[in-house]
Amino acid sequence: MKHMRSCVLSLLLLNVFYNVVSSLYFHIGETEKKCFIEEIPDETMIIGNYRTQLYDKQREEYLPATQGLGMFVEVKDPDDKVILSRQYGSEGRFTFTSHTPGEHQICLHSNSSKFSLFAGGMLRVHLDIQVGEHANNYAEIAAKDKLTELQLRVRQLVEQVDQIQKEQNYQRYREERFRQTSESTNQRVLWWSIVQTLILVAIGIWQMRHLKSFFEAKKLV
């Protein structure tokens, strides 16, 4: 019975471990850098989980975990300032909170320190990015604050509404920028057409006067 129990336990943990980041995956080359853009309001938490698998040419399949293979994660804020730049192992989890609203760039590339590992192959990267309310771990919150089911639901609703409110604020800021750009375009078009007309008229007058004086000098007129 004890043996069976440990067997089941290990199977459970294995299953759990395997399923941790078995979400969407894509292939990345050796020196390739893959960037993802997240347009988020400020004070929003983002949790990213990734898992890498290397293609084993001999067995012609992807190995579950490879030692010594790391991923370099770089996060840039909308002003192109680096807010997170760290190297993680073949499996990792990165978290950051935005302080300015806008487009944040999350870039991943592998640290190809061991060229022999790659040998022209592809690396499979499982990635999962949770934004805002989805980044909350409700099981943990419920256990920590000892909430009943109803309280937990209401807490979730509060978080969702919070996210909506932040997004609306961000929307207002973006609309302002859009309006500024449109007004600037409008002004530029207006000014340019006035200036163009003036230039045309001025050049026309100058041309005629200059040519007239030229021909008078040449005694052709």
Binding site: L12, V16, C35, A143, L157, I164, V195, Q196, I199, K218
Partner: protein
């Protein structure tokens, strides 16, 4: 992700609420029949708990939803893969945010390579399907028709339904009115967030077009002013050169 946390806590912590759920023979969704079989077999309490949790793990549909925005360079193709269990309802939604004519090719294939969805030069679309086979589904976005414009593509790939909050895992009784009200508010808020995302993408698209227009107007106006000046001055110079004092040529032309 949430389900994983739940099982770990049930294994590690001995908090009364969670332990109560698992020790009572509550049925886990889609683990129903296996649970019934388990309850027939006489086993020790904790081992049964373990098996129940394991069955919940293995038999429950793993719910995943991924939403990403990435940049697709010109002449490039980017593919994403996902393992889906048969019978799961999935939705793929994509929208081109910036770049060129705001269109991209999209293709969705099932594990055997059959194309389930294929559209060329689409700006945005939504496609729902039910997985008919177990395996790895692949969807690709291609910008191979474009020569020099980079495109930013947003996609949202939902697999299955959203996971319920963890205390709801072993629910047998019906929801109270408060709880069902909470559920409906949650669904409504989810659709609000969804609309907000679409609106944000549209706004980003509009803003990128407006900024493009602004820079184009700036460059064009400066360029045209310079061209005007250059052309008019060169016209005058050219005309003068026709009537310049080259006595030999003018006399020849005259006679």
């Amino acid at each position: 992700m949430i389900m994983f946390e739940f099982t770990l806590t049930s294994m590690t912590t001995k908090s009364p609420t969670i332990h109560n759920y698992t020790s009572h023979k509550k049925m886990v969704r889609s683990g129903f029949y296996f649970e019934a079989w388990l309850s027939d077999i006489r086993m020790y309490g904790s081992f049964r708990v373990l098996l129940q949790v394991l069955s919940a793990q293995l038999l429950c549909v793993w719910v995943l939803g991924s939403e990403l925005t990435f940049e697709l360079p010109d002449n490039a193709k980017q593919c994403f893969y996902e393992d889906i269990i048969i019978g799961t309802k999935c939705t793929l939604e994509f929208q081109v945010v910036t770049g060129g004519h705001y269109d991209v090719d999209c293709r969705l294939e099932d594990p055997e390579g059959t194309t389930l969805y294929k559209e060329m030069k689409k700006q945005y679309d939504s496609f729902t399907f039910t997985a008919a086979k177990n395996g790895t589904y692949k969807f690709c976005f291609s910008n191979e028709f474009s020569t020099f414009t980079h495109k930013t593509v947003y996609f949202d790939f939902q697999v299955g339904d959203d996971p319920p909050l963890f205390p709801n895992e072993n629910r047998v009784t019906a929801l109270t009115q408060m709880e069902s009200a909470c559920v409906s508010i949650h669904e409504a808020l989810k659709s609000v967030i969804d609309y907000q995302t679409h609106f944000r993408l549209r706004e980003a698209q509009g803003r990128s077009r407006a900024e493009d227009l602004n820079t184009r107007v700036a460059f064009w106006s400066i360029g045209e002013a310079i061209i005007l000046l250059v052309v008019s001055i060169s016209q005058v110079v050219l005309l003068r050169s026709f009537f310049s004092d080259r006595k030999t040529t003018t006399t020849r032309v005259g006679s």
